[in-house]
Amino acid sequence: MSAELMKGNVAIAEAAVRAGLEAYFGYPITPQTELLEHLSKRMVELERVFVQAESEVAAINMVYGAACAGARVMTSSSGPGISLMQEGLSYIAASEVPCVVVDMMRGGPGLGNIQPSQGDYFQVTRSAGHGDYHPIVLAPASVQEAIDLTFEAFDLADKYRHLVFVVGDGLIGQMMEPAVMPEMRPIRPRPDWAVSGKDGREKHIITSINLGAERNEAANLRIQDRIRVIRENEQRSLEWNIEDARILVVGFGTAGRVALSSVKMAREAGLPVGLFRPITLWPFPEKRLAEIVDGGIQAILVVEMNAGQMIDDVRLVVGHDVPVSHYGRLGGAVPLPDDVLHEIEKIAANIGLTATAMAG
């Protein structure tokens, strides 16, 4: 179990294999293609299912089929491909079948580019297709976290019979870092509810149509109940230098990781700054964030690789109680530690904090 230098995309693929992935369906797109490529070799070696689909639309519907069969199943893509999956994702969510979708975000909108981005935060946390629901969204900031969260994503999907996203960006996908792989787990048995041929039991049907408002409202309420439980139980986050912080930096994934450098620099300069990094984007870790803010935070800086999306979730937690500002880089640009530090300093000046005043 020693560390290996691994590329994020490959690490996620291998972690999925070790979590007992039975089937993968996907379509190439940068910056996640190595994930598909790794599985094209590994799954075939292990005599599991690998199909390169004719499109992302087909891929997500193959995932839907395999998920109905109760198999552990995954797909992966990026911006344009995830957009094409929206209808299928909505069907999957409505049908309450578990699956894992990896989204390595790239600069949008449109074809955009393939640089790292967090521009699809709204798409994954808010809608992921038509209708009322939220997928579970996990956001690693390192190759090791990518491995660990992917491995766990399958269990979460099973536990809640729900759609789980693992979202990264080009950096997480392309970066190599030392990381440790979990042991290979045996493939779990197919669950009871699966569609498998009605051998000796009542027939099983998996469908997302519910004619009549009453029936569909009931189905929706069931989903909403589950979502409420998830929201209650699965909020996760990490934090640094929170105790005496007056300024809180909030960022996820790569942006959060970059911000950590800035926070350390600010601390060295004597500024009372802490970092809050959501691991679950949905459910957003609102409980912990509220606690931290109550502990004496005077200003919040949200750092994202987008025009301001997660900031809504932060503002929904803190309301007008604390000023919340945003530092965003767009379309594939990655914030630099110095620039984030600069923003922190501006905020410190605004709220009358000076490094000297607080140092010591």
Binding site: N61, G65, K198, G200
Partner: protein
């Protein structure tokens, strides 16, 4: 004198198949969807595969097919039944997986999925109900609507200059190396219905024998949206659809011939 052997016993020679639920369908009077359902159920019964068959319903009038078959089943997104069936079949290679799709579903929005399922030689069976119309949404033009056919979205008749020409799916899919059995049948008469059943049986046998992709296209009627009585609708199938969509075997690989 009547001997015991000559004594006549009144015996059921046709009854509701096992694989079909004993419920009323939502189909319009005289709609051939009902006939197609029955044929599939009869074949499933005869092959004894009710316990290991999985249906994939489309979006279209047959969206509730899963309610009528007494089989495990799923309901796919519009046009994506072949992709969903692929997912099911790959992880359950020893089950029998079939899709049931309309012409809007299969020949419009789902064109890519059906073509590639066939190209991959996906070992599934497709029952393709071609009624030259979008039934469920109330009678708009389908890719298979005939030139000149009046529909709700071609109110002056399908103008091929604007709306193009119908797709002949059996012909197209037969071109795929992965296709093992692709035939077109019709449901417009008792004779054709009997042939259709035979083809459905062969298609399922193709799958069970692991020979690859199989499809039976069934020319069908939509009395409601065509605006004909059920008997006239069947006549319309015979007189207008059959000439445009010739019945026949478009692809039967040798191994399948051996099954027949």
């Amino acid at each position: 004198m009547v001997t015991r052997e000559q004594e006549l016993v009144r015996t059921v020679v046709y009854k509701h198949p096992e694989a079909l639920e004993d419920v009323q369908t939502h189909y319009c009077p005289g709609c051939t969807h009902g006939i197609a359902h029955r044929l599939i159920a009869e074949v499933v019964d005869e092959l004894g595969i009710q316990d290991r068959t999985i249906s994939v319903s489309p979006v279209g009038c047959a969206v509730f097919a899963y309610e009528y078959f007494d089989l495990d089943g799923v309901e796919a997104a519009h046009g994506r039944a072949p992709a969903m069936a692929t997912g099911l079949k790959r992880v359950w290679p020893d089950r029998v997986v079939f899709t049931y799709q309309g012409d809007g579903d299969l020949a419009a929005i789902g064109t890519a999925e059906i073509m590639h399922a066939a190209a991959r030689g996906e070992n599934i069976t497709v029952i393709f109900i071609n009624n030259a119309i979008y039934g469920m949404t109330g009678g708009q033009m389908a890719p298979t609507s005939l030139p000149g056919q009046r529909t709700k979205s071609s109110p002056m008749g399908r103008d091929v200059k604007i709306a193009g020409y119908p797709l002949r799916m059996s012909e197209l899919l037969a071109d795929m190396d992965g296709a093992a059995y692709v035939v077109r049948r019709s449901l417009h008469s008792v004779r054709e219905i009997r042939k259709a059943k035979k083809a459905i049986r062969t298609a399922f046998m193709t799958q069970i024998s692991g020979l690859g992709f199989s499809m039976v296209e069934l020319l069908s009627s939509c009395p409601t949206n065509w605006g004909f009585s059920p008997p006239d609708a069947l006549k319309w199938v015979e007189e207008n659809m059959v000439p445009y969509y010739p019945l026949g075997d478009y692809k039967v690989i040798e191994a399948v011939k051996a099954l027949e």
